[in-house]
Symmetry: D2
Subunit: 409 residues, 4 copies
């Protein structure tokens, strides 16, 4: 048993951390100040990219800090999931970093899907520009009209009609669809209701500008629109694409989505852990520098215990996530079912707790935009729902546990 | 011991509830839809009142559902705090109701101060139009540069200079200051640093348009600006008002503020309880009407236990608050010190828990503005800081407890 | 709304408190020291009554502090449940007090059953000596072989055979059955499996010495046997009693048991609250008198916050229980279904929390018998199971809540 | 990073698990049934060893499953802490296993002290028979009269008087001192109050039968005496031993104790994790095999979520402890300060939670001795106090955290 990260990871971790601190942080600070101006009250048609962000991306790419998430050694960094995980933690300290390193959701998941399941044509058309950071993409799965925590509830359709696929229905929480460079949608829908339960759905590549695709609105998260990415509600009316746009063929939707989710959840969770570390740092800094009742805030009431409890919670969440990554690398997503569901419950909750406690120490500043705590809080709160709400993941774990009679794996 | 509310309360409670459901709810639904348009990205200079809201206020006033909070039987409804409390709960179910009934913070507290401590001139000039709902007011106490949880940290000054008071400093979280009808500021500042610890500060009436008063910006709460009320950051540069504008004379600031806070905290807490009840209703409604994995959501996992736990928590919070109100009526704010600090900790936390659980059941809709859950959540989150953060109130309770050797009162 | 207890309650509360502190406490201290000697390693056949306890009972009876729980003004004190509740709280501070005042479970519940449902003969034979404290009784309901949280699981039988009832089966957690003066068993069993679901069971009076009744062992609770009361496992083999011993006739078991449980749960919960108050007092006393790292323990870490949280939790539990008692008095056990289930969850958990926190402050002494904390802890732990485990009560509350659509009563 | 245990560990883990299940479990079941008979109501002078246990020890020793905790490859198994940790987990599933493998506290810590700091004479006299399992030992540190959580409070004395050490004072929670084979006491006391703060105390070897050593009583833990080991209160009256009995010389007490605690805490925590796994297994078994309201208990209310939460909590605790062990091996106890304090808080609390939840599912059986849940609960409860209460460890972590400005190690 060896808890030391690989030499490669340690070297990259240092470089990513330095890039975040020295290059990204100043740009992020400026953008943060322009937050509301950039959101245009949720009117996504007015959202723009920022030239400095584009320049940072070019710089990161030139420095080799690019597509680090992709296990392919040619197209990406060739890191295993457990090797990449600490880099995701570093990126999670910043809201901007994931895009700068071309490592942000949902593009990472979409690139993985194209890399693993795409035809050469699909890869040439979409994977290449995504890997180069020239375009962006969305993943349309969640629906407003059904409880999407049960994916078999999905009602939107992707019917095969000759050599075309016809798409109808309504999706929401389509993250990234507001970005000016978003060109591609991965749409998941019902193809054959009579097929076996997990072979009824398909994933289809839909160019963003296909007729019949209408972004109706952007959804706010606790009042913030996450510009220029956004979370869209999208209508598909008789949208037609060639059946060559199916990923891995009709009916392969669940199989493809399953493989997509494993690494993606590791990334999300490690970013949560990085964000939680930043909350803790901010809390300690504030607690040491402000005084009330004649003492630094940190020495009042139970504040030191809260610091200790956060340190413990964050360290536990990190180890659990790293272990899940290691197991995923060895046994695949089905072998790491319990582990991945476990981190999906733990990491966002730890971030929510860290942000909540830090807000409490910051007082009014904590809920404003003067510090990133409310934004971290919102991130955590959404992640407790996205990719399966806590309750669903607890259910997965319990089912495994009952099968094993409660015995340790 | 009798838990039955007074006949007067029960009759008013029914009428308030009906007015909220029938008259206010439809207007609120419309305004909610216009939320982002009305916020103008935080640019408060463009905020406006709404004619329908003004009409509702006139209607409420005509119906005698007006100034119910004020114990004075001539100017208000003549209700004790414990009699008014259930009405505040009804109002808390709506974001608009408190203003419609002229019962919203910080105006209620300001009116009470003017009623109890104001000179006839001060009352004629400011109390009358406030009671008539023609103008609105703000209370400037919290400061950005010091830990305001310790009120003796206050650094802004209100120096007496001959027959004038000169005001300098910076305040923030000045709620309501963005309202187009805000005409009056109650400013609290340091008058005499050499006086005994609780006689150093004064409260001064400052007309909103006095030269030297600059609202620098509105502060967002989890991304929302609470238009058209707002929470402002305000600069005071050599602002001069007549010393006749002092409330209860120089040095009386703490004494006056103390009396202001008792009933105000009861109101806040009862509104939290009303809001929590609404979260619970929404949660039950959603849980019964959506299905996943072949069952109504409410029957999955621990959801029914969550419902039970919320019912218990809400009922406990209500009883604790009603008891605090009853004690406040009998023994005044100092006699109800433990009780008021206790509810200040409990009620916002119960609302935060209720909103958080309800969000989880609603999924993506929960964090958006399609339902009021995120807004209730933000309300709760802010109230855990405002009027003394949880930790300060726990400290007050512990001090009392140690004095009594842990013995029950 | 009036939170002031009645004049009668206040007067009795003072007298009970004084009796507990002055008369009972010294005897209890002595018995506590003899705890293990008196338990005889669980060999209940060697358990004895204590002459000083008997003398205290006589003294309490002479002072009119006797049968205070019984609402009947002739036989008891004529107090309503809400009037008696604060007296139960005072008794809960001591392990001995309930018996001394002839107010301890399960005898109180058994006396109520006999008082409300007993025939004159049953009352003459059993109620009179119970009211006089000359004999004691047990209630046999829980069974080792089925999940007794679902009372319809009950498997032991009470079959009517001509003018006799024949009783067979196994019961456990029959509290009080080890007492040397225990003469009566209220046995609940299955009479007619074909009757409607809640009319299948009967309660039968079984003299303790009836042939076929065998106490097989006493069950320890966290290692303690609660001598000389005990919790027995009892076998009934073809036990025959006259059918005149049926309470309210065959099939009335559930109906009678239901009425028995309401007040009993109020008593249990109020005693928990009294015990929790005593834990808090001990904690404050210890925290102020011991030092570590140069400070009184109470000022270290989050200890003051723990004190505050306990004060809040205890006060909430008390108000919830008093309100449930008030509602039970007005609307009966079915009208107070949610309220009684709520306190049954809350009060034992608050006591468990109070004892746990106090133990932590006492260190090693806390888990020993040098202070009563471990015993209070065990009491709480058992009560979270007895009379329906937490989960069942949460289920009852949720069911009510869903029926009302989550709307407040 | 590699989470796979070493080949050696895996092989031993399997053998230990098999030995526990096949050889120890049946004996333990019998002893469990004799529990109260063997305790003699706490009269330790009547405690005896059991021949079958002695036989098991011989068998374990013959099988090479002996002294596995000792890193020395000659005298022990030559395992690092992280290699031994999974074996401690296996042993923690049983109350008897630690002694059977000669791996139980406090003997393990005492053997380590003698191994690392003992003179050849001390080792020959005491280490050899301890390693052979012929004798047992106690460690006397905690005192009844001071808050021992602050070790500098220690008041008992070990004064050097010529070539003797004179020992006076009172200790309690001296675990293992009741064992018939206990021959040796490691006594820690104040030698020089004028020395620097951490050089005032010494550890002295005191033969158990030295005149002046009086075991006054055994302390119960939630009513159980843990026979034949016991937790004693011991008086030392002018006890004289040669100064050659000092460990590492006068004033070395803290230094020696520090080194003793690191591995010991890892062992305790891993045993907690093994015990928690067993609670979870019992809970799943019970939940699947009993029915209420027409369903297996496990499917009622939030029970499945509780299973999931326990699985998550246990896995997190294990990873945190293994990581602490790994860090201890690399950087020593001072380098792993945060990590060791963190597990000391986490692992016993997880066991307490697991036992508490399992008890709740077992109902009455859970608090009795029919299943080992109450005993596991008591173990956990004591460990939250022993070797530093939770609050002290949180304080250690917070201090480290503030030094680093909240930044991750």
């Amino acid at each position: 048993m060896d808890f030391e990260p690989s030499q490669r990871t340690r070297e990259l971790q240092q470089r990513v951390a330095a890039f975040v601190a020295e290059r990204i942080a100043p740009v992020e600070a400026r953008l943060w100040g322009e937050l509301h101006a950039r959101e245009h009250g949720g009117d996504w048609t007015r959202w723009t990219t920022d030239p400095e962000v584009e320049a940072l991306k070019a710089e990161a790419r030139a420095a080799g800090l690019w597509n680090l998430f992709l296990p392919d050694p040619e197209l990406g960094a060739g890191l295993t999931t457990v090797e990449y995980a600490p880099l995701a933690e570093e990126m999670g300290r910043s809201f901007l970093a994931p895009e700068v390193f071309n490592c942000n959701a949902p593009d990472t998941g979409n690139m993985e899907v194209l890399h693993r399941f795409g035809t050469p044509e699909q890869q040439a058309t979409w994977l290449t520009p995504l890997l180069e950071g020239r375009i962006r993409s969305a993943f349309c799965m969640t629906e407003p009209d059904v409880a999407s925590s049960d994916a078999t509830n999905m009602a939107a359709t992707a019917r095969v009609d000759g050599d075309e696929v016809v798409i109808d229905g309504r999706k929401w929480w389509s993250s990234g669809i507001g970005h000016p460079d978003c060109r591609l949608i991965l749409f998941m829908g019902l193809t054959d209701p009579d097929a076996p339960r997990h072979q009824q759905h398909s994933i289809v590549l839909v160019p963003r500008d296909t007729p019949g695709v209408t972004v109706e609105r952007m959804l706010p998260v606790f009042g913030a629109y996450d510009a220029p990415y956004g979370h869209g509600e999208v209508r598909f009316d008789g949208v037609r694409v060639p059946s060559a746009n199916l990923i891995a063929g009709a009916g392969a939707g669940f199989f493809v989505a399953q493989g997509r989710l494993g690494p993606g959840r590791i990334h999300h969770c490690m970013r949560c852990i990085g964000a939680a570390e930043r909350c803790l740092e901010l809390m300690v800094e504030r607690g040491l520098s402000r005084e009330a009742f004649g003492k630094p805030l940190i020495n009042l009431g139970g504040n030191r215990e809260r610091i200790a409890d956060l340190r413990i919670a964050i360290d536990q969440a990190r180890l659990l996530t790293l272990h899940a990554a290691w197991k995923l690398d060895r046994e695949g997503p089905l072998g790491a079912l319990t582990e991945i569901s476990a981190i999906k419950v733990v990491a966002p909750n730890v971030l929510q707790q860290a942000a909540d406690e830090a807000i409490q120490l910051f007082g009014g500043a904590g809920v404003s935009n003067d510090v990133p705590l409310a934004a971290f809080f919102a991130t955590a709160r959404v992640l407790r729902i996205a990719d399966g709400p806590d309750a669903v993941h607890r259910g997965v774990i319990a089912r495994q546990e009952l099968r094993r009679g409660g015995r340790r794996r």
